[in-house]
């Protein structure tokens, strides 16, 4: 018991040193809080796939009451904003290519006649496919408007699809991205922080000083990992507060499960960071390796594009990516209100990654030769 307390006291001394060293520098304090704050605000506004308005141009060759009616329906949604009215088809190329409009609505000369005859009247929309995701969304809006236009004219489509989206009723992409940012933003810095923790001491020569004290590798590991995990969870909390109270995305799940998930996820990230750190001889190497690791971790996490859309091989690779499970866990607990049993499969890989990388780092402390 006494030795346990002595053990703990040594770890606490190391933790305290790490935290004091980190927080002492005012620049560090800014670096720990500033980027998380700014990035979550910026991405909250910038990182969205939703079109709030679609700039478009009209080529109305029909010049009829029917075409005007159709166009006013379009503009009545408030989404479509007419940027130009074209006189002939040759102008289409120019307005699209310059990026002035996302879409051109072209109404042919026989539009009104066909409608009057009870036939199908085609309206052509030309989309700028340089961002096909945006183009697809715009097309979706036009289709919805057209359906309602037809219904208003008394032509009910044979089957109506009634949509209901669970967990995100308006299919707002901010709801998709921002909760995932709670995990992602903190990982970027936590990983670097952990990666630099040992590398910095090696470079400055203090690591030798640490190794000749009676501290065991395990104690050094715990003493260095705990502050990094705390910083990570602190940053996650900042993002969480912004997501919840600034962007007002409702949280469905339990807070304790959410934090349990965050701690496991941050633990796994810190494990990777510490292993990088123990492998690196200096800070430059540590930063480089971290960057090489962060890229695939972020891109293959399902943060922006779903894991299911990836080729099989890459999907298998994502099993070692803590961010994949971190993002999934955070999203599901936050938006779905998933319970512990639902997200248990996400915990397993996180625990395995932490369980492998942390002891590996501890072993490398002494066995990585200069």
């Amino acid at each position: 018991m006494g030795s346990f307390i002595a053990n703990l006291a040594q770890i606490i001394a190391l933790c305290r040193k790490e935290i004091v060293a980190l927080l002492k520098d005012p620049a560090n304090r800014v670096i720990l809080v500033g980027p998380a704050l700014i990035q979550s605000m910026l991405f909250g506004y910038a990182a969205t796939f939703d079109l709030k308005y679609v700039p478009y141009a009209v080529l109305d060759q029909s010049h009829s009451a029917a075409s005007t009616d159709f166009l006013s329906h379009l503009e009545g949604t408030g989404i479509f904003r007419r940027e130009a009215t074209l006189a002939n088809p040759h102008q289409i190329g120019q307005v699209i290519e310059e990026g002035r409009v996302l879409m051109v609505v072209s109404i042919p000369t026989d539009f009104a006649d066909r409608l009057a005859m009870g036939r199908r009247a085609p309206v052509q929309i030309i989309l700028d496919g340089r961002n096909s995701t945006t183009a697809g969304a715009a097309a979706g809006y036009v289709n919805a408007v057209t359906t309602s236009f037809n219904e208003a004219r008394g032509v009910a489509s044979p089957v109506t699809v009634v949509r209901r989206a669970w967990f995100n009723p308006n299919l707002d992409s901010r709801w998709q991205i921002m909760p995932a940012m709670i995990a992602t933003l903190s990982m970027l810095q936590t990983l670097l922080l952990a990666a630099l923790s040992v590398a910095r001491e090696r470079e400055q020569g203090t690591f030798d000083q640490l190794l000749v004290t009676p501290l065991t590798p395990l104690q050094i590991l715990v003493g260095k990992a705990v502050p990094s995990v705390l910083v990570g969870v602190m940053q996650s909390t900042i993002v969480l507060l912004i997501v919840r109270f600034w962007f007002e995305i409702p949280m469905a799940g339990s807070l304790w499960l959410f934090y349990l998930g965050l701690f496991s996820f941050t633990g796994a990230s810190v494990g990777i960071g510490m292993s990088i750190s123990a492998l690196s001889l200096n800070m430059q190497q540590a930063m480089l390796y971290t960057f090489l690791v962060i890229m695939p971790l972020t891109l293959l996490s399902g943060l922006i594009t779903p894991v299911r859309n990836m080729p099989e091989v890459l999907q298998v690779l994502t099993y070692v990516n803590p961010l994949r499970f971190g993002v999934d866990l955070v999203r599901r607990v936050y938006l779905e209100g998933a319970g512990l049993l639902d997200v248990a499969p996400d915990f397993l890989p996180l625990v395995v990654v932490a369980g492998v990388t942390l002891p590996l780092a501890a072993w490398l402390f002494r066995h990585r030769l200069a």
Binding site: Y45, A46, T48, L51, L115, G129, S132, R153, L292, N309
Partner: protein, 376 residues
């Protein structure tokens, strides 16, 4: 000024930078391996295009009409129907993430259809709203094909009024493949990367290692130092550009509709700006750690998030929009996507090159000041 002495010194410095670059393995790692890795990841790994998405089908009405209504889903190349026996089962599948959507045909479907008020319920998992939106369109389309067939069959009976039908054409990317716009955007990211991570270390490293002090007390002029650091990395950037173009064309079949010359010109113009930005960061921070942090936050992240790479800039609030216009990558992003997918538009090329020239001159002047041969 003696031109031949200037050239001798410049060549000597370029030779030195080139040798250092080639001998430092980490440079090759970031300069060549990382771009190749990114190309493969973006080309194969990232896609917004839904393929074979599992959709649970709940047939509460088993009539022929109901079966016909959902038959379109089986024919869709985007969707894979998963038959379920109860709504409960389907809901379980949805919450556990094994299906992405539920299509529910209500028990009174056939009667409702006879009344002309048929409804099919589509339940989506909104956690991934992008996929959900695509699915909505695909399911709607799949169900619609049946309706259209019915309508066509019934063309002999003209309705009281006709209906508007949308004929969609997507220019530049007819099939709407996301890889087509991700890969040209990747050129921007890689050009940014070379600048942000390779050059941001360069001057800082010389300050840290103390090599500048001895160099300063020679006839070397500050401009020579800056130019010499630019040259070899410009070459790395051009090699990366070539890799990107070849990979885009050969591996991912992305069309290159613009002229290669225009692509080369705009890319090199942006590359110079990117390299100078890296050098400038390096010169003001004077230490590698701060330089890499600043490069990440001020050059790479904005290029990724604010340049219109994935996220359309039309939707952002004014403040963010202004910020995005300050980011050089934004201007390059627009041009390079056009050059790849739309074709050569010399007005845009000239405009972009002019903007880059402005940035380059500004950054060159600023960087120049940071190596003005003084220690205090």
């Amino acid at each position: 000024m003696n031109h031949s002495a200037f050239l001798t010194r410049l060549i000597a410095l370029i030779r030195k930078e080139t040798r250092q670059m080639l001998r430092d393995r980490s440079n090759l790692l970031v300069g060549l391996l990382l771009p190749v890795g990114l190309i493969l990841l973006f080309g194969y790994g990232l896609s917004f295009d839904v393929k074979n998405a599992p959709v649970a089908i709940v047939m509460e009405d088993t009539s022929a009409a109901a079966r016909e209504a959902v038959s379109g889903i089986e024919g869709s190349r985007y969707l894979v129907p998963v038959r379920t026996t109860s709504m409960r089962e389907a809901e379980d599948l949805l919450t556990s993430g094994r299906v992405d959507a539920i299509v529910r045909v209500p028990i009174d479907f056939a009667q409702a259809q006879a009344r002309g008020d048929a409804r099919i319920q589509l339940i989506l998992n909104g956690i991934d709203s992008t996929t959900a939106r695509s699915l909505e369109a695909y399911v709607g389309g799949a169900l619609g094909t049946v309706s259209l067939r019915r309508l066509d069959r019934g063309t002999g009976v003209p309705g009281s009024s006709g209906s508007v039908e949308i004929v969609q054409r997507t220019w530049f990317n007819e099939a709407g493949i996301s890889t087509w716009y991700l890969v040209p955007g990747l050129v921007v990211l890689i050009m940014t990367l070379v600048g942000a991570f390779l050059t941001s270390m360069l001057i800082a490293r010389e300050w840290e290692r103390g090599t500048l002090e001895a160099l300063f007390v020679t006839p070397v002029r500050p401009l020579e130092l800056v130019l010499a650091k630019l040259a070899p990395y410009l070459l790395v950037g051009v090699v990366d550009l070539a890799i990107c173009i070849v990979a885009a064309r050969v591996l991912f079949q992305v069309p290159i509709r613009g002229s290669l010359l225009a692509i080369f010109l705009t890319s090199v113009a942006y590359l110079i700006v990117s390299l100078l930005l890296g050098l400038f960061i390096s010169g003001i921070t004077r230490n590698q750690f701060a330089a890499s942090q600043m490069a990440l936050l001020t050059s790479f992240m904005p290029a990724l998030m604010l340049s219109g790479f994935v996220f359309d800039l039309r939707n952002v609030p004014l403040v963010v929009k202004i910020v995005s216009q300050i980011v050089p990558a934004t201007h390059f992003m627009g041009v390079i996507k056009t050059l790849f997918l739309a074709g050569t538009n010399w007005t845009m090329v000239a405009q972009s090159c002019a903007i880059m020239l402005g940035y380059a001159l500004l950054l060159l002047a600023l960087t120049w000041r940071t190596v003005r041969k003084r220690l205090d």
